[in-house]
Structure formats: structure tokens, C-alpha cells
């Protein structure tokens, strides 16, 4: 419980009451935000969590009145410093935007104007409200950028946004947000597009700004870990309503709404020892916002539902500083610790033949980029540089690293979608490193891929039946159309989709269902090796848990071998037997999942693990945080010697001179560091 002294004493600066923002479409109103009430006190950090479609972003945009037709505030009030923002005219709301309430968006790549210099954008943001002269604004812009942790801000203000990385742009966005000293900053998923180490830096910055400047912050995120790290109070949204409110210490350790409970248990934890790889999931999909169900909106998916839930519950206090919209917990009921879904009866796995299924040695992929200027040297991007990798039959090997580390390129090399520059790829005894596409085609039956983006990986013009039957026909797996239909039905059943799905088009399915289709397509030809490139990173946490469970089930039933690529360490730790850590195209560390997380030997692994947030403020406080220095260097011009040395806290002169070999630490763990385990 937060001590009374922590409580903001003053009246709330923002007070949202029964806000209803609907999308008035021709097909009827979409009730995206449907009766939301909350307060924000001066200097407070309020977190809003929920899955996509829960209304959290629309809620934020309503406060700023950044709604485009057909969205409209149809009811309720937004009281802010004595005004009702919901009823201000356009001119009056413009005076509030940026000056009194600022907003930072998710995508730092598109929220800055690409044709204007940073300085100009910052100066315009400040002079627009008439508080600064252009000269004063420029000086202030430089000061702000320095405060935001931008190196050499005098030079940086003269740059264009494209010269900046995503993390740096988000710092610029924060500088812009804070430039007029607003009373409230709304950050909508500000770190979702960033790597975990950069995310940790930005969250750190946000915490510091809130502390030093006293600006209230509303932080919107789908990630409970991020929220737990920054916020003093949390709202959980589901189906356009607030379903639970409370301090993160309480809410994340003892949830009082089954949806919060489900969110918390569906996310794999980086700090948990998992005996079973299945995660706790809740059934079904979020309801349709055109026709919210009568009664409790979570009822259809709730494992605790009782008869009373047919009535719509109100958000009522449940203990000090807490409120919940649930009949069960309001009546004093408890939400039990989940029973994990029972593992399938131990299927006698086909005894894995000894020896590796995939053996990669000295693999390189260099992309030659166009010359930098007419007389410039051709630039070479070493996406994958001298990588060794072994995948044994029946195991799951995880490939982690930040964006640009070459993990997706590596996936496309081992499946030979790309042609390697050098190195051997031996798949089940056959070297496919230099084979032609025609030579590889027969092997494609055994080696398949699952892709990241469920919206792009299925051909929108093909029916699902055709998507699944095409590979069968290509490889001559089935005889005739009837057999193909039969096999398609089996595949759909295998991934938990109804047989009728075959006649529908991909756009009729949700992201999670599409990922199931993508998995079915990969399995259609009966592979034994599946490369999954970020298969769950585009999905909401509950859907992510369902897909992970499906992949684990399929592995047990079909004896699959996985190469699992992800940037989310918790997911990788949960799913994988062994983990390979990549940095700038090189392997930094290899080891069994449990060992690697318990005793990381490479400083990079160590910092990565410490940067990943844990959705529990109490644990978060006891964890040792290792700040990751700076930004990853460009793979066009990697540092000499050890590639990590520029960001390494223990780097010495030797690290710049010698490339550390991947050396055996013992226990199947390898690290490419001159001083393994020293850090």
C-alpha cells in the first residue's frame, strides 16, 4: 500500500468522467471508449494497460481531441484546469495542445516531419504558443536535448530526423513534449517500437523527467512490465471500460479483476523458472465493439464467471486506493493461482537420432550497398558475420538480439531464401550453403518458416483453403482435390481452427487466427525443422500465449525442431532449450536457457537481461540494473575487435585489438568475451 505521504495532495489536474468516444460508422456506432472515468493528480504517473482494441489509445486521443471523423466524443466530460476539454472549440483546444498537455506517440519514425531539421521543429513547437522568441527557443532546444540525453546537442539540432535512430528520435519527441513545460504528458506506447535496451533508457528518462519537472504523465502500454516500472497508479482497460484500478504493487501481485489476472499470467516472465512451457491463456477473442455483450463484458472469457455476471458491474472500490469492475471480487471472492493447462499425455517422442539436424559454420552474409556518392567506396553491410550454429533434432534453439543484429537474415540464410556470402549450412547431412534453388526445392518439404507479421504473410487474394492446398499440390503430397481438401481440414483442426475457415479469406481472421493459418501452412508439407521469425511479437499477450502453447503442443505431437527468433527475452527463455545471443552479426553467447539467464557470462547478455522489465514493482526494485551505454553502432562500420566493446562496461584495450573467440565456459555454455563472467 502506498503511504499517505506518497498520495498527491492537491486536486486532480485532469478528471475524466464517463467519457464515451464512439466511431460513428455507417454500419452503426463502434463504442471504442464507453464510459471511462479517472483522475490524474499533479505530478502523478498513471499507467493505462490493455490489449489492442481496448480503447486506451482512443482515450488518450480524446483528451487531446485528436479525433478524426467518424470518431466523436458523444458523452462525458474531460475536466482539465477548470475547463471541459470535450466541449472546447477548436481554437481553445489548440492552445491546450502542446502548451498544457503534450503527447508522445508510438512510432518515432513517422512522428517527426522528415523534411525539417530538428531545431526548426523544436523551435516551432515553442514559438507556436508565443512563450519564446526564436533565439531563446533555439537555446532552449539545445538545453532540452542535452537533458534528454542526446549527445552533442549543438550539432544534433542541425540534423534531419532520418539521421537519427529510433531511440534518439523518441528523445527528440520527449524534448518537444516537455518544451512548453506542460502540466501533463501523454505517452502512447512510447517504447513499443524500440529495442529493450533503448526502452530501458527512455523509461529511465521518463521517470527522471517526471521527478525533476513535476509533470504528470499518462503512460499507455500493452506491457505490464513497462507500466510497473514507471507508474504509481495503473488503470486496466478492457472493451472500452476501466475494469481495474490500483497501485502497481497491489494490482500486479494480487489482481482483483479476472482480466488483469489473465494478462498477468499469460505473459512469460523473465524471472520465473518454468517447468512447463504452456502458458495460462483465456479462451476466445475480445468482444465486438459494435455490440458489447450485456452484463460483464469479460464474462464470456472469464474462468470465474457466476450467474450475477449477467448484470453489468460497476467500477467500485475494493480496498484502499483500488477499484474493480467485477462481481466476484467485489463480493470478496479470490482469484486463485492458475492451474496450468495439463501437458498432453507424454507422447513417446520419436527417439531423436543422434547428431545435429542443422549445422552452420562460418556463415557470412554481406550486403553490398550503393556507393555513397559517385566516387565513394561501395559500402558493405555485414549482416551476418562468421556465425556458427548447431541445432539438434527435437530441440528449440532461440536466437535473440536487438534489431539489426542479423537474426532475421540468419533465419533467411538457413532456409536459403538468401544466398550466403560464405560458410557452410549442413541440413541433415546435405550442404545447402551453395545449392541452387532447384536443388533445395525438394528439401523445402522438410524445412519451413513461420513469419512475424500475420497481416502480411498470407496472400490476401487467396482463400485459406488455397493457401494450405498450394504447397500440397506443389510437392505432390496429395492425390486429387478430395484428398487435398481432407488434408486441409486436418491441418486446420491441428492448429485449432474450424474446418469452414478454408472457404474464407485471410482478412476475415484476427491476428492470432492468421498466425495459426501461417503455422498450418508451414506444417502442410510435413517438415521436421521450422524456423519461426518473431512469430508472436505482433500479437497481444493472451494471443501470444495461445500461439506459444500451440507451438509447444505441435512440437510434442510432431517431434518438430524449432529455430525460434525473438527479441523478447522472456518469451525466448520460456520456449527455448538453448539460446544464441547475437550482436551486430556475431554470436556473443550460447548456452542452455536456464544457465544463460542464471549465469550470463557475456556482458551483453547481462545488460540485455537486466534491461527487460519484470511486471512486479517489488522484484523490479531488487533487480540490479545495468545501464546499457549509448546506441548500437552501425553494422556498416562495426567496431574493431569485440563488436560490443563500445557499449561494454568492462571493455579494456585488448577488446579493441583482438576479436574474442567463442570459448567454452563449461556446461555447454560459450561466450565470445575476453573476460567471461567478470562482469
Amino acid at each position: 500500500m502506498p503511504a499517505p505521504a506518497d498520495r498527491p495532495p492537491a486536486a486532480p489536474i485532469l478528471s475524466v468522467r464517463d467519457l464515451r468516444t464512439w466511431f460513428l460508422t455507417d454500419a452503426g456506432p463502434v463504442r471504442a471508449v464507453d464510459g471511462v472515468s479517472f483522475d490524474v493528480h499533479p505530478g502523478e504517473t498513471l499507467g493505462i494497460v490493455g490489449e489492442s482494441g481496448s480503447g486506451k489509445s482512443v482515450c488518450a486521443k480524446s483528451i487531446m481531441r485528436l479525433l478524426d471523423a467518424p470518431a466523436r466524443i458523444v458523452g462525458g466530460a474531460i475536466h482539465f484546469r477548470g475547463r471541459d476539454l470535450a466541449r472546447l472549440d477548436e481554437e481553445a483546444i489548440r492552445a491546450v495542445r502542446g502548451r498544457e498537455i503534450a503527447m508522445v506517440f508510438q512510432d518515432p519514425m513517422t512522428s517527426l516531419n522528415p523534411v525539417l531539421r530538428i531545431a526548426r521543429q523544436l523551435v516551432e513547437a515553442m514559438t507556436a504558443h508565443g512563450r519564446f522568441t526564436p533565439a531563446a527557443a533555439r537555446t532552449r532546444a539545445i538545453d532540452l536535448l542535452r537533458r534528454m540525453g542526446v549527445a552533442a546537442p549543438e550539432r544534433a539540432v542541425g540534423s534531419y530526423p532520418h539521421q537519427y535512430s529510433g531511440g534518439m528520435r523518441q528523445r527528440v519527441m520527449l524534448a518537444m513534449g516537455f518544451s512548453n513545460e506542460p502540466a501533463l504528458l501523454i505517452a502512447d506506447e512510447p517504447t513499443t517500437a524500440l529495442d529493450v535496451t533503448i526502452q530501458a533508457q527512455i523509461l529511465d528518462l521518463l521517470r527522471g523527467l517526471n521527478r525533476d519537472m513535476g509533470t504528470a504523465v499518462i503512460l499507455i502500454s500493452h506491457d505490464l512490465g513497462v507500466i510497473a516500472n514507471v507508474c504509481s497508479r495503473v488503470l486496466v482497460m478492457y472493451a472500452g471500460e476501466v475494469v481495474e484500478e490500483g497501485a502497481p504493487e497491489d494490482l500486479l501481485t494480487d489482481p482483483r479483476h479476472p482480466y488483469t489476472w489473465a494478462l498477468l499470467h499469460a505473459a512469460p516472465r523473465i524471472d520465473a523458472e518454468a517447468e512447463d512451457r504452456r502458458l495460462v491463456t483465456i479462451e476466445g477473442q475480445p468482444p465486438d465493439p459494435r455490440t458489447w455483450p450485456e452484463g460483464c463484458r469479460f464474462r464470456a472469457r472469464c474462468p470465474f464467471a457466476v450467474d450475477k455476471c449477467a448484470e453489468h458491474p460497476q467500477l467500485l472500490p475494493a480496498g484502499e486506493g483500488r477499484a474493480t469492475r467485477c462481481w466476484v471480487t467485489q463480493a470478496g471472492g479470490a482469484l486463485h493461482t492458475p492451474a496450468r493447462p495439463a501437458p498432453l499425455p507424454a507422447v513417446p517422442r520419436p527417439e531423436a537420432a543422434p547428431g545435429p539436424l542443422l549445422q552452420v559454420t562460418g556463415l557470412q552474409k554481406h550486403f553490398v550497398l550503393p556507393n555513397d556518392g559517385y566516387f565513394g567506396q561501395p559500402r558493405v553491410l555485414r549482416a551476418v558475420d562468421d556465425v556458427d550454429l548447431t541445432v539438434s533434432r527435437g530441440e528449440t534453439v532461440g536466437l535473440v538480439g536487438e534489431s539489426g543484429c542479423g537474426k532475421s537474415t540468419l533465419a533467411r540464410l538457413v532456409t536459403r531464401l538468401h544466398q550466403p556470402t560464405a560458410g557452410r549450412i549442413v541440413f541433415d547431412g546435405t550442404d545447402i550453403g551453395s545449392a541452387t534453388q532447384a536443388q533445395i526445392r525438394p528439401l523445402r518439404r522438410r524445412m519451413q518458416m513461420i513469419f512475424q507479421d500475420p497481416y502480411a504473410s498470407l496472400n490476401p487474394r487467396d482463400r485459406v483453403g488455397e493457401i494450405l492446398a498450394g504447397p500440397l499440390r506443389l510437392h505432390g503430397i496429395v492425390d486429387g482435390e478430395a484428398a487435398a481438401r481432407q488434408r486441409v481440414a486436418e491441418l486446420l483442426d491441428l492448429v485449432g481452427l474450424p474446418v469452414q475457415s478454408a472457404r474464407r479469406f485471410p482478412h476475415e481472421f484476427s491476428g492470432g487466427q492468421r498466425q495459426r493459418i501461417s503455422i498450418a501452412r508451414a506444417l502442410s508439407v510435413g517438415p521436421d525443422f521450422v524456423v519461426a521469425d518473431e512469430p508472436v511479437s505482433a500479437l497481444d499477450v493472451n494471443i501470444q500465449a495461445q500461439i506459444i502453447n500451440l507451438m509447444v503442443d505441435l512440437q510434442e505431437r510432431l517431434g518438430l525442431t524449432y529455430l525460434f527468433i525473438a527479441h523478447d527475452l522472456a518469451v525466448v527463455r520460456h520456449v527455448c532449450d538453448r539460446i544464441v545471443v547475437l550482436y551486430l552479426g556475431r554470436v556473443m553467447e550460447v548456452g542452455r536457457a536456464a544457465d544463460l539467464f542464471a549465469r550470463p557470462q557475456h556482458p551483453y547478455t547481462r545488460t540485455l537481461i537486466s534491461a527487460a522489465p519484470v511486471p512486479d514493482p517489488r522484484i523490479e526494485r531488487t533487480r540490479r540494473h545495468v545501464p546499457m551505454l549509448g546506441e548500437p553502432p552501425s553494422p556498416l562500420n562495426p567496431p574493431s575487435g569485440c563488436r560490443f566493446r563500445t557499449r561494454c562496461p568492462i571493455a579494456e584495450a585488448r577488446c579493441a585489438a583482438e576479436v574474442p573467440p567463442l570459448q567454452d565456459i563449461g556446461g555447454g555454455q560459450f561466450a565470445a568475451c575476453h573476460f567471461p563472467g567478470k562482469f
Binding site: 455507417d26 452503426g28 508439407v525
Partner: protein, 285 residues
Amino acid sequence: MSGVVLPAIASPRQRWLRRYGLASLGAAIILAWALLAIFAPWVSPFDANFVDVANRLKPPSWVHWMGTDALGRDVASRVIHGARVSLAVGFVVVAIGGLFGTLLGAIAAYARGWVEEALMRLTDLVFCFPPIILAMAIAAALGIGTVNTVIAMLVVWWPKFARLARSLVITQRSMEYVEAAQSVGFGPAHILVRQILPNAVGPLVVLLTLDVGNAILVFAGLSFLGLGVVPPTAEWGAMVAEGRELVQQWWVATFPGLAILTVVMGFNFMGDGFRDWLDPHARTR
């Protein structure tokens, strides 16, 4: 919902009219002209080439409801017969030019490397000349006649489809479903024809539709300059040219002009309708 006042929701009929009203009007115009063209010998009141010098330059009347031209030919019949040439030329030029350009552009985009360079530089070469002037030059070199003019137009027509198709295929080929098809083991021809092109076809259909009107206009322009049809074939551009000097006898040039206007407008409405229909943002409204 208590206290919430919603604006009236458009009825399905209103919504349909708002979205497809103009497109349907365009389609109706085109259909009407197509029927007139097909049944021209039966629906036109006179023989299009029947010369009646005694009745020359008569204003519109109940007998000649668009009047008669300098040779006493019935303007209405000639306008109806003119639809045959114009529509046929429009469709043929766009169909052949569109198909050829699309294939070339798609192959360039998918093959990359020197194939792309060669094909796209050829495209640029054609783009270097003003299209009408180039078509005029080719038509003049080949000799006057409908077929020769169509050939001349085809030469200048395909490059824009090649460019559009190339950019569409380049966008699609980086999509994950293309990689998925590769990793399943499909070959390049299958991927280009069966996977990529169906997804690239939308904007091409829009351009094709808008372009039929454009082709009719260019052909009429060439005919107006005396490069299109061989007299006395009835053709709108040529008819406008014949009426050009006859300021007092306005009907000689006005009615074929109106025919060109309505056909081109019809195709534009239809093209806009296709574009709205294919644009997912417009669809949700």
C-alpha cells in the same frame, strides 16, 4: 444509451448512392454507348454515309434530329456509327497496351538487375517524347488508317503501365507472403503470376478504366488532325474537324463533341468508382 444523441445513420440506399452513385452513372453511360455501337446499323435513322447534297447543313429537326453536315449526311447516324470506331479503338489500345506494359513492368520488377535496367530505360526512352506528337509522327509515317493509328498509339501507350506495374510489384515482392511462397518452394513464375499480380491488379484496373476514355480522346484528337480514319468513315474527331469552320451550323461539331465528352466522363466516373471500391479506407465509411 442515456443522454447520448447520435446523428442519423445513413440508410443502406443512401450509403450505396454516396459510394457508387457516380460510378453507376458512368457505367450506365458506357453501357448505353456500347449498345448504340453494337446495334448502330439498326438504331441509326439513316445510312451514315448516305450523301444528300440537297439537304446539306440543315439544322436539327424531327427528321434529322442532330441536323445534317456539309454533304447532307445525317449527323445523328454518324455519331452513332462513330461510337463503333471510338469505343473499339479505346478498348483495343488500352487492352493491348495495358497487358504489354504490365507484363514488362512486372518482369522488370521481379527480375531486377540488368533485365530491369534494360526494360525501364526503354520505358524512359518512350517517355522522352510528348506522346501525342510521337503518335502523330508514327501514324504519319505508317500512313493514314485506323489500324496504323492504333499501332502508333500502342507504341506510346504501354510505358505508363510498365511503370505502374513495376512499382506495384516492387511493393508486393517485399511482403512476407512472397517469402512464404518461396520458402514453401514455389518457383518465380508461379510467385509472380499467381501470388503477386493478383495483389497488384487493383490500381491497374483503375488506370485501365480511366485510360479508355483517355485513349478515345487521343484517337479523336489524331482524327481531328486528319491522321485517324480514312474518310468517309464516321468518327467523332473527324466530324468535329469537319464542323470546325461552320460557326453558324453549330450542330455539325457540337454533337460529336458531346459524344466524346460523355464517353470520357463515363469512363472517369467508373474509374473513380473502382478506386473508391478498392481503397479500404473509403470502404469503411
